[in-house]
Symmetry: C2
Subunit: 677 residues, 2 copies
Amino acid sequence: MVHLNALIHEGDNPDLTSERLKASFSTESLSETIYGGKQKLLRRREIVMYVDEHKELHDEKPVEFMTREERIENAARKVVAMRKHYYECVENEDPAETHYFQMLCTHLDGMPIGLHMGMFLPTLYTQTNDEQKEKWLAKAANLGMIGTYAQTEIGHGTNLRMLETTATFDRASDSFVLHSPTVSSTKWWPGNLGKSSNHAIVVAQLYIDKKCYGPHTFLVQLRDEETHRALPGITIGDIGPKFGINTIDNGFLRFDHFKIPRSNMMMGHSKVEADGTYVKPIHAKVGYGAMVYVRSVMTLMQGAFLAMAATIATRYSAIRRQGVINPGQGEVQVLDYQTQQHRLFPQIARAYAFYLTGKHIRDMYYDVVQNLSEGNADTLPELHAITSGLKSVVTHQVGLGIEQCRMACGGHGYSQASGIPLLYTVAIGGCTYEGENMVMLLQTARFLMRTAAAVRSGKRPATKGPSQFDYIFVAGPRQCRLGQAMTAGNCVPAMVECFEHVAKRLTLRAHERLELRKNEGRSKEDAWNDTAVDLTKASRAHTRVFIAKAFAKAVSDIADSAVSKAMTDLLHLYLSYEIVEIGTSLLEDGFMSGEQLASTQKAVYELLAKIRPNAVSLVDAFEFDDREHHSVLGRRDGHVYENLLKWAQHSELNKSDVLPAFTKYLGPMMKEARSKL
Amino acid sequence: MVHLNALIHEGDNPDLTSERLKASFSTESLSETIYGGKQKLLRRREIVMYVDEHKELHDEKPVEFMTREERIENAARKVVAMRKHYYECVENEDPAETHYFQMLCTHLDGMPIGLHMGMFLPTLYTQTNDEQKEKWLAKAANLGMIGTYAQTEIGHGTNLRMLETTATFDRASDSFVLHSPTVSSTKWWPGNLGKSSNHAIVVAQLYIDKKCYGPHTFLVQLRDEETHRALPGITIGDIGPKFGINTIDNGFLRFDHFKIPRSNMMMGHSKVEADGTYVKPIHAKVGYGAMVYVRSVMTLMQGAFLAMAATIATRYSAIRRQGVINPGQGEVQVLDYQTQQHRLFPQIARAYAFYLTGKHIRDMYYDVVQNLSEGNADTLPELHAITSGLKSVVTHQVGLGIEQCRMACGGHGYSQASGIPLLYTVAIGGCTYEGENMVMLLQTARFLMRTAAAVRSGKRPATKGPSQFDYIFVAGPRQCRLGQAMTAGNCVPAMVECFEHVAKRLTLRAHERLELRKNEGRSKEDAWNDTAVDLTKASRAHTRVFIAKAFAKAVSDIADSAVSKAMTDLLHLYLSYEIVEIGTSLLEDGFMSGEQLASTQKAVYELLAKIRPNAVSLVDAFEFDDREHHSVLGRRDGHVYENLLKWAQHSELNKSDVLPAFTKYLGPMMKEARSKL
């Protein structure tokens, strides 16, 4: 028998099966929407089957039970195995398939070549000249060396210009001398730097004849290729355990007058010639696109993280029974509590909103890259502006959402068996890396302030094609139209107007306050800092506009009417929930009335009840394999308790009944105490 | 030279010293306020010195670098050492001194006798009869045995009535037979159950002649006292790694028809006689006080957690320099950014608010205990109502606040060297244990709904003395009085009115909606569930009233005028920040105007600037010893970077330059790849 929910199997926990039987839409159809069509979905399933069948791609025990050394060794073993199976399993080196194959093998736990793939190789591709490409690319691409990207220093993060590591040109030996002059100049944090990599792209201040030319990049060999020992002049190691990502050997690195050939400077753009002549890059912003890349895919990645947490918590809430609502009717599924729905369903909605917005952004990115390759940088600023805001808003909301999902699992959510602690620590790192969130919001704010200045001056800049800032130039309705002469079907435009109104108002208000501070005599920079919190508020509001529109657009593009209906409920929940969240800004200037807000809140409650029967199927449609979330609570089959017991057997503490802690300490102590009674 | 900040030492990081020199008040005086007077503060310092001088009370290396087995062994070692030094160091078994001594030795990392001290012993004291006290108390108190409290089962948490473990009376052998009939009945989660304890108080359903008498408590020996092996009929072990508290061996436990003597049932209240006669307890709610105890001290504990995180992040923000505000003036302390202040200072304010409210609650608790001992339970419900709400609101805000502090430390916040990951995982557990937060809010809501019914019916119940609910019966102003005919000095009452107004309105609205649902024909229980989210909102609002009043009262009690001034700024920040946070509820019914809200927001910004010079001194006044937070970033002396480097040397990965991961896997792989070039 064919069910609307494609994940029903015989022998599953009956509570989950009965949830899945309630689906009002085909999960398969929604999965196709998520992953870009039937063919891609089928390929995903084939990859799952392939990985299932090859034991050497699996972990012998859950990584949570391994020491860091074991985790790193296990990950290295899998890298070798993945390399062996890659062409067998992945078609045409397709990036999405590659990513999925890797995800199934390493889940969220990282691997020793993560930075090599994500940063080292792309830098080699984009920043080298032809000679360098010839020399390094094949070797790096075939894993003849492992590299990383060493930028951050212990005392310097976001502000690149203040990096202290020096690369001093030595004309006599035609080389650069790399040096770490202070403690605070120690390279610190780069992934895979501590132990795995034998090469790194190092960012250092270029000095020629005592003149500083600012930060440049250099390919540096760190370790002997045969023995892997650190080369003389190099001090290198692991920076110790972190909140998460402990399989990754984030490292430190110090140079003691370490020489590299002049030809190891990345010469694709700027150059130093043998006589010490410095040749400037042609475009100042070359390589800018690569920086925006990670931010461009972060929204998608973070959406997937939240979807995973929501999958775990929603499935578990369907099989967990606790407490009685109506006496005599037995314990209920915790998913029946309104408080639980109010915790979880907005997370499902946000997961979809972010994931679908992320797909949109990824497409924008490909457009920008295409345009750049044609010498056209016009679309880059739009991408830069929104990815900065998205990075900040999405990582923040995803972090909060994952924690809500974890707590919705009660005590078991706190166990690593839930998979959510690892998920949280991986996801929340996104608030900090690739540009700290506050800094990112202030970048978006620069665009908004430019827009506000144009609005105030009445001089709208000419843009080619539509811009995300267009709405700021348009006078919207003075009163929120929610509930006025609208059928339920077309409330979305009125809701989007709410976000636009707030973003517009907060942008213009921040601009006004900024100008006021300047007029009061503060320097431009001080005025900016005095207004910074208001600026971040404007950026967040603008980002909400973008997500609301992107999500609404994605839902309106769904052809399957049953899927469209279910997703429209989720969209409505998303929009209503967000409106309640920014209620203050909507009420403050009288745009929205108290009654309208109250109706929106009521709509949230009604939507929770409406979504309840589809909840499990909505998360199922992401089709996360158990290997991906590797959560006992989130298992597809719902057999949680017996597998929690099995999982716990791996604990190192369970290897012997009596620990040395007893024999050496607690036993003698108790014995002595008893002897005195 | 005597400085106003008592923590200035020669050789400290000059950035921290110059911050400390800015103090406008005596930190010593504020510390005395926090810890209850000069004498107690001095004793704390003596305890620090004592622990400093005794090496066996220290960790050989930071616990973050130890495996779980090593951590448990290390903690057991320290328990023996602490027992040896206890009477030497702590005066008259004073509970506050005991707690501090333990904190300095084990910081947040837990110990194998945590549950013994916190749950096992108190249960023996309160639930046994005289004969049992005689038999067990001395032995337990002297650590002749180690016990824990085994209640939660793998399938059952909050809802005690559904526990499945059975204790069946066997008349023939005058014993109870303990049994775990299902997988879901497995005891799961109790701290120190897995490996450390040899006894437990077990909660099980009492059966006599096939009749169930509900859950009762039994003292059960789990392991042989000499060999520590699990006794036949008992399966026991560790449940595996968790988000945090990994030094604690939370355990599982299964019984296979395990017999214990009848006299091992806790017979202080209910009883089973030799012939199987069941004797009911006299008071139904006996032991209720003990349950409220943990919740009563949680506010204090959580306040301290947040204060610790704020200490770490504020000190670090004073020594971290990054980015330039005004060109040519060098990199600034990140504490100078408004966004950073807006992240951190409200956390400092909340830390004080919670800590001082916590002290108030602890005093309420002692009153209740005193009253109970005189046979008067009148004050218990008031305590129960507010501790439920506080537990939920405070743990939630503390969790968010700690994460803000962590992220305010940028990348280094993510390292375990910051101390904040451990702090967060320990603190956030509080959202789940001792009654899940949503359940707790709904308990407070029951009191609020009773109050609302009384308001509606016009029948105010007679209470002895003032009640936290009094304000709900009083008509407050219809319009917010902020900014109206008030000097800056007395804005506090008008601010408190804001919280009262919202709590009152949300309480009455929830009650109205509850009644409406019932009138629509929903059962009382369904109506409650339909209104649950509104009910939690009312509870949170009520709790905010309580905290605002308690904090305001505590500040108004400060005699030292300089301290009072600094703390008043913090109180104003707390209140203003909270008002902005609940802006929606204040604007929704027109109580507050948009202008009033905007002024409050402006006041927040002004207060940030005003508090800036005192920020470090305000956290310093908590006088956390470096041993307590054991954070490299939060060191009193501010020497962060060199100590991060030192800290990292402990990493197991740094024991050898080349790991097996290279020799076994990555090395051969790269070599093979190079051979093919």
